[in-house]
């Protein structure tokens, strides 16, 4: 019997979207991220995993300058979006229109479903016309897989939706300003398994149009939704690679120990 050939998945052609080079982050004296180098590709979901306090959320927040708001936080190194520096010399508000974010707990505004989605386009003055705004809202809700469930009550308050619907509303809100990258920080940790499945299915569809980067504590979720996985530990990027490789044959002992539940 011939030896089994190692199954080699055709690797997707990588188009670098966000590139981090020698990124260091300090919170005052605390060195939170140490020399992180990571490339995140267009058309892929990149999962950032690691134990609490490993720096994965800190890294995610560097990607749309959310760390700017934290006092004493200093970011060094280079992060480029399509080759352009985003750490210096770019307006964070403009950057966040290109790099949207979805948070752990759904946080819709206490406004109508319609106004939640229309909020970004209005702020960024994407259109002055009502019919165009309507179209953006409907399309965003459709892309977020929520439209069918709320089409008869767009003027109902967004916070009245179920948890899973609220999270998809937040995704619709992020999509409405036509971002290129969507960052998700534990987007399903407050959701039940069905709502989680819907969000995961949505991520798989969204990655065709957007670059997705997700922080998750669920190993299974990282394995299910991402094409690439990066493992952080104590502020360092220990290993990154194709998700299949990370979960079947990680190179580093630390990665293996973490994903198999040998240390926390």
């Amino acid at each position: 019997m011939p030896a089994p050939n190692p199954s080699v998945e055709p690797q997707p052609a990588a188009r670098p979207k966000l590139v981090a080079k020698d990124v260091n982050v300090y919170y005052g004296q605390k060195h939170a991220l140490k020399n992180v180098n990571l490339t995140m590709n267009d058309g892929e979901v990149t999962a950032l995993i690691g134990p609490s306090g490993c720096g994965k959320s800190t890294f995610l927040r560097c990607l749309n300058r959310m760390n700017d708001t934290i006092e004493g936080c200093r970011v060094e190194g280079d992060i480029t979006l399509d080759g352009h520096d985003i750490i210096r010399g770019v307006d964070p508000v403009q950057l966040r229109a290109r790099v949207g974010m979805v948070f752990q707990r759904p946080n819709p505004f206490p406004k109508s479903i319609y106004d939640n989605v229309a909020f970004g386009p209005r702020v960024h003055r994407l259109t002055e016309r009502k019919d165009e705004l309507d179209e953006i809202v409907v399309n965003s809700l459709k892309r977020a897989g929520l439209f069918e469930e709320v089409k008869d009550r767009l003027d109902a308050i967004g916070t009245g939706l179920s948890g899973g619907q609220q999270q998809r509303l937040c995704i619709a809100r992020a999509i409405a300003v036509s971002p290129e990258v969507i960052l998700m920080d534990e987007p399903c940790s407050a959701l039940d398994p069905i709502a989680t499945a819907k969000v995961e299915e949505l991520m798989d569809e969204l990655r065709e149009t957007y670059t997705l980067i997700i922080v998750t504590h669920s190993m299974q979720q990282a394995a299910r939704v991402s094409q690439r996985t990066a493992f952080f530990h104590l502020g360092s990027l220990i290993e990154s690679g194709m998700t299949e490789q990370i979960f079947t044959n990680p190179k580093e002992k630390l990665t293996q120990g973490y994903i198999t539940g040998r240390f926390g």
């Binding site: 019997m1 011939p2 030896a3 089994p4 050939n5 190692p6 190993m219 299974q220 394995a223 979960f247 079947t248 044959n249 990680p250 293996q256 120990g257 994903i259 198999t260 539940g261 040998r262 240390f263 926390g264």
Partner: protein, 231 residues
């Protein structure tokens, strides 16, 4: 490797691996006894071997159940997943090996009703010993697990193929010499084939041992030395 945070997970994996290792020891023992029963023309021993096969079947069924449970409840990844997957496959190979050993015992019973001891029982014993030593090395490689030992034993299967081919020709010669040899020689031929197939299953286990230890499959195609199909 460090223990898991959840201790019962370690226990489940250890129990599974140990049970498959125990199956290996039993299958090896069955083959040892089968060759002994053949050479010593011992009916009692042959009957014992045939009866003992049920125990290995039961161990395989239990290993399968454990694999199913661990996959469903623990969703193992990386090296843990390899422990589970290789246990499933190795248990299957061992069950087949034990089946072949039992079949050798059954044929030994038939051969014992025949008056003549053919000279080719000796080379069959040699083939059996070769496969036994190979199986023993491979089971150690799986138990540890040790990729170097697995690879070394894996490469040795061509010795089995070469011996089997030469035995095949020898038995053909006896059958051509005297038609009365055809019945016993046919059984001996099937026994030789059983032993050769045990070698193939042992090689599969070597591949699993290598995969378990490294996460990679043994590269390239195993060298073949079985020319009996061209005879």
């Amino acid at each position: 490797m460090e223990p898991h945070i959840v201790k019962s997970f370690d226990e489940a994996l250890n129990v599974l691996h140990q049970q498959v290792s125990r199956m290996g020891a039993l299958a090896e023992h069955q083959l040892t006894l089968a060759i002994e029963a053949l050479v010593s023309r011992n009916d009692d021993l042959a009957h014992k071997i045939i009866q003992a096969d049920a125990e290995i079947d039961a161990l395989e069924a239990s290993a399968n159940e454990q694999v199913l449970r661990v996959l469903a409840l623990r969703a193992p990844v990386a090296d843990d997943l390899r422990v589970v997957i290789t246990a499933l496959k190795v248990a299957g190979d061992l069950e087949r090996i034990a089946d072949y050993a039992a079949n050798i015992a059954k044929r030994a019973l038939v051969l014992n009703t025949q008056p003549v001891i053919l000279p080719s029982v000796r080379p069959l014993q040699t083939l059996g010993k070769l496969v036994l030593s190979l199986l023993s090395e491979i089971l150690t490689a799986y138990e540890e697990p040790n990729p170097e030992k697995a690879l070394a034993a894996w490469k040795r299967d061509q010795e089995v193929d070469a011996q089997y081919s030469s035995l095949f020709r020898e038995l053909l010669t006896y059958m051509m010499e005297d038609p009365r040899n055809i019945t016993p020689c046919s059984h001996l031929l099937f026994i030789a084939k059983n032993i050769e197939r045990i070698g193939d299953h042992a090689t599969n286990i070597a591949e699993m041992a290598y995969f378990l230890a490294t996460g990679n499959s043994i590269e390239g195609v195993r060298p073949k030395n079985d020319t009996s199909t061209k005879a």
